[in-house]
Amino acid sequence: MADSQPLLICEHCDTVYRRRELCCGEVARCLRCDAILERHHRLGVGAMFALVVTAMLVFVQANVWPIVTLGLSGQMISTTLWGAIVMMWREHSQIVSMLAAATLFFFPLGKMLLLGWVLFFAQQGRRAPGFRLAMVALYRLGPWTMSEVFVLGALVAIVKARVYFEVILNPGIFAYAALTLLITVFASIDLRRLWELVPERSA
């Protein structure tokens, strides 16, 4: 079988390498195109699972609490992410509304649930039911989660609104800021190694 060969192919230029175990902190780069081939991973499955659970809790907070409140002559208006999504729908920008719902709510949620599912079983040394489909779905979700862009967007909106309105920050914005930090940690995790971490037979 081809998969018993200790080979590695650079996904950016198709160069074939013999695979080698990496030591702590090492990063393997492609000699031809300089792309990262593999990183050494400090985080074990348990730590990754803990991270996903934390991210889920923070994600719930970020969506439940209002993000920011504006005040004008005694009147106060606040919004959550869903408030913004619904309002865009009503204001005849349904496409934008759907884009926001997908990239800021459904895709991030789906990513966390799938990852949590896979890691929950991987922790026990087992392959989750539907492992293959979950892994392919995680690959497809790839760049389509944009929570970190939304945080910067909120910052810009706050600065713009500050000129005309009284601005009060709500817990939602802090939860989003925390979520962005967690996402940054996630970004360095190569999900592909989960294929090798959990043995195939025990499905």
Partner: protein, 208 residues
């Protein structure tokens, strides 16, 4: 230096694009990865024409996205329509210049860079030129990395629309420009995903 590094097709191998598994290239049509069951391809399918089509479509939407206003601010009879560029200028004058630079980068520099970079990558890979291969590979990875930050302005409009609801006193409404802009970003993301960076290294192998 990099010429003696073997490439997958020379060794009769295919790396699965989805899960990365090294598979033997049987040459059969419709082969599937034994691990993740995704279709195996040596290169992304119809990479050149798909990327070109998506890029052209994105560019056509990019024009109304910039010309049409993206947001209307109405306060006590005073109506102010903002385009992407005038929003940046307003932020520079009234808000904070540093944030204006960030928005300018995300909304104007990044989309332009994507059009230029992907156009250049398409053109040069079509001609199989050995020119600046490493730099082109890096350029592609940069485009992939920063692409989705252009959604920034779309989210700003969505938030302000939901927040500024003070009736006659002050009201923000989204305008069609923001829809065009959102679609431009999505299409350029699809365009950069359908480009295959392996094409940069295909063709004439000479000094690089």
């Amino acid at each position: 230096m990099s010429q003696d590094l073997p490439r997958a097709d020379e060794l009769g191998l295919i790396g699965c694009h989805v899960c990365g598994l090294v598979c033997r290239d049987t040459g059969a049509e419709g082969a599937h990865c034994p691990r993740c069951h995704s279709a195996l391809h040596r290169r992304k399918q119809a990479s050149y024409s798909r990327t070109l089509a998506l890029l052209l479509a994105a560019f056509m939407l990019y024009i109304p996205a910039n010309v049409l206003p993206i947001m209307r601010t109405a306060s006590v009879g005073d109506i102010d329509d903002n385009t992407i560029l005038s929003g940046v200028i307003e932020l520079w004058v009234k808000g904070s210049p540093d944030l204006a630079v960030i928005v300018f980068t995300a909304s104007i520099v990044v989309p332009m860079l994507k059009f230029l970079a992907l156009g250049l990558l398409l053109w040069s890979s079509r001609h199989a030129t050995p020119w600046a291969r490493r730099q082109r590979a890096k350029l592609y990875r940069l485009v992939e990395l920063i692409g989705y930050w252009s959604m920034l302005d779309v989210f700003v409009v969505a938030l302000l629309t939901a927040l500024v609801r003070f009736g006659v006193l002050s009201l923000v409404e989204p305008l069609p420009g923001v829809v065009f802009f959102g679609l431009t970003v999505i299409l350029t993301m699809f365009a950069s995903m359908s480009f295959d960076p392996r094409l940069i290294w295909d063709g004439r192998e000479s000094d690089d």
